[in-house]
């Protein structure tokens, strides 16, 4: 929140100086009171627009929370009940107990942790190669890497699923291990950009000392890259936690992730969804990711923008 102090200052001056006395030196060109009102109305409109848009953006999630606090009668009532008559806080406990919430959460956690750890390390490894080493074919390979970012993953996922099924890897976590070991172009690119920006001298002394590149990567480059490592981990963790289709395809319901469980297990024996408990469960499913994001925001955003830009 480093609001450029200059603007904030002159703004404050303008507001305080309601009478024409408190005019600041900066505003020597200011045409007078009408213009100042126009600036103030402009800012008022700006803030109103921002607040309304932000409200709209938070609305769906707020509604999900409200739905999670209603009775089932209220979630089916027409016309809408805007607020729950009594806040049914126990819905959250019920949602937790109705299914093996903790078990599914553990599955999600294992898969996301394993994948994020492996893919971060493998992508850093590959990214180092593209950034600091040279060989015939490097440019072509880098082109293929960038191009493969545009491959729709859904197209490869379906035949991959058939292959994994043939290899007996359905209902195991092996697919995520393999995907993790294989590095992913998006994160390779992130690490490549970071490593390419580090000074040459960093490895030169080590090379003279006869260190291998693996040692240089592990001892010198990796310790330098904590911000990128954590950003990469958080991004990959968020993907896997949020992924619905791969676990839905590859895992049976018992071994599946929270995403699948929240989507498909909150139904009565007759098959109708238990809306309020499902909403409560999905809040509990989403909130950890939002918290992780809020904590790691800086690196996360930097990582997302790097991959989109340069």
């Amino acid at each position: 929140m480093t609001v450029t102090s200059d603007t904030a200052g002159s703004h404050a001056t303008a507001t305080r100086g309601g009478t024409a006395t408190g005019r600041s030196v900066h505003r020597s060109k200011s045409p007078g009171a009408p213009a100042r009102t126009r600036v103030r109305t402009g800012r008022l409109v700006l803030y109103t627009v921002l607040v309304v848009i932000t409200g709209l953006f938070l609305g769906p999630f707020g509604w999900l929370i409200l739905t999670g606090l209603k009775t089932s009668a209220e979630t089916a009532a027409a016309p809408v009940r805007w607020l729950p008559g009594d806040f049914q806080w126990h819905n959250f406990a019920d949602a937790f107990n109705l299914i093996d919430f903790l078990g599914y959460a553990r599955n999600s956690l294992i898969i996301a942790f394993v994948y994020a750890t492996l893919v971060t390390l493998s992508s850093a490894w590959v990214g180092y190669g593209f950034a600091r080493l040279d060989a015939p074919g490097r440019k072509t390979l880098f082109g293929v890497l960038l191009g493969s970012m545009m491959l729709p993953q859904m197209i490869t996922l379906l035949p991959t699923y058939l292959i994994f099924a043939r290899l007996g890897m359905v209902d195991t976590y092996w697919p995520w291990v393999l995907w993790g070991l294989a590095a992913t172009p998006y994160l390779v690119f992130l690490f490549r950009q970071f490593f390419a920006g580090l000074p040459r001298e960093l490895e030169e002394a080590a090379i003279v000392d006869g260190c291998g590149y693996a040692t240089i990567f592990w001892r010198i480059f990796l310790p330098q890259s904590w911000p990128v490592l954590s950003a990469s981990f958080v991004i990959a963790f968020t993907w896997t936690w949020g992924d619905y289709i791969a676990p839905q395809l590859l895992l049976s319901t018992d071994r599946s992730t929270l995403a699948v469980a929240v989507m498909s297990t909150y139904v009565t024996t007759a098959g109708t969804p238990v809306t309020n408990l499902q909403a409560a469960a999905s809040v509990m499913y989403v909130v950890p990711i939002l918290l992780i994001f809020l904590v790691a925001q800086r690196g996360f955003v930097a990582g997302m923008s790097t991959s989109g830009l340069k």
């Binding site: 609001v3 953006f57 016309p79 490869t156 390419a196 693996a214």
Partner: protein, 330 residues
């Protein structure tokens, strides 16, 4: 890994066994070492790309020429019959048309929305960081959470959307059913416009301040500055957003998550207006188990995406303005 740590075994790596030609030899072995090291570092991705992308794609290409359904042992090679069937099937064309319509509406809308938000929160305002965070937050919400939120928001009986309509005396709409389901889908995309916002914001902050000042001195207004300076400088970012947006829109599973029965088997129950190409693939794959035919559908989509991406790059090559040579930063 250990191989590399042994300090250059003399003679073993260098092909030229001849006399030790002064300082020449270590240099060659250094270069060879670097080349080998590069492939050692690149190998996880190369192997992974071959095994987890190329092989599945080739496998799908082979299956697309067969009647394979995963159950019947008597599947056989049928040449291009699957392709002939899918091109003759109006369901394919309708699904493709809906996917195309979704792409050409959702991508420009979310780019305009994201860019607009970026411009708003790039201004010197109070609590700027807070606004940025809150506007970006929906983009972090996993698809399952987004799907359930929009399902309850647009529920015909108890949804807030119909509640608002009710205040104005308008009858409740079946938002999640046929004519309207596409608009709900579109809103889920716009809800995540924070993605475009955050990337455009990084681009906006890279626009040199002097350019804006120069434009102001030349008497350009805010809109003119935006159109003639900001947008051209952001054009690589916008191009990237367009391409990735189109690809993401084609493979979205949101229609499935908004459906009454969101399992890969229940895909056939999706309202027509959200029954897009990918959903058609899912239906053939999982509901009907026609792996051969569905693989042909996937390959057609793959080729189409290549063509569309190529066209986007071709038609924007004169318009997109690259400020820096990407390879220059070394």
């Amino acid at each position: 890994m250990t191989v590399d740590q042994i300090p250059a075994p003399a003679g073993a790596t260098a092909p030229g066994r001849g006399g030790r030609a002064g300082g020449d030899r270590p240099r060659t072995s250094m270069t060879t070492r670097r080349h080998r090291a590069f492939y050692m570092f690149a190998s996880p991705w190369i192997i992974g790309f071959l095994l987890l992308t190329i092989v599945p794609m080739a496998y799908a290409l082979w299956l697309s020429l067969t009647t394979y359904d995963g159950i019947s042992p008597h599947w056989r090679f049928i040449g291009l019959a699957n392709y002939r069937e899918l091109f003759a099937d109006s369901v394919t064309w309708d699904a493709l048309g809906r996917a195309g319509l979704f792409a050409v509406t959702s991508v420009p809308l979310s780019i305009v929305a994201g860019l607009g938000l970026a411009v708003l929160v790039n201004r010197p305002i109070r609590a700027r960081g807070l606004f940025r965070t809150l506007l970006y937050l929906p983009a972090v919400v996993p698809p399952v959470g987004a799907g359930l939120a929009f399902k309850s928001l647009f529920d015909q009986n108890s949804g807030a959307a119909n509640g608002v309509l009710n205040i104005f005396g308008i009858d409740a709409l079946g938002w999640l059913a046929d004519p309207y389901a596409r608009y709900v889908l579109l809103m889920t995309v716009l809800w995540a416009a924070g993605n475009v916002m955050i990337i455009s914001l990084a681009g906006l902050q890279d626009v040199p301040r002097e350019l804006h000042e120069a434009a102001r001195i030349d008497g350009a207004g805010a809109w003119r500055t935006f159109r003639s300076i900001t947008v051209p400088l952001l054009s690589p970012v916008l191009l990237f957003q367009t391409v990735t947006g189109v690809i993401a829109s084609v493979q979205t599973i949101m229609p499935l998550l908004l459906a009454a029965e969101p399992t890969t088997g229940g895909v056939t129950a999706i309202p027509q207006s959200n029954y897009m190409y990918m959903m058609h693939v899912f239906a053939e794959y999982f509901a009907l188990g026609r792996y051969g035919y569905a693989s042909a559908l996937l390959w057609v989509l793959f080729v189409l995406i290549l063509i569309v991406t190529g066209l986007i790059f071709k038609f924007t090559s004169g318009v997109v303005f690259y400020n820096v040579d990407p390879e220059a930063k070394k």
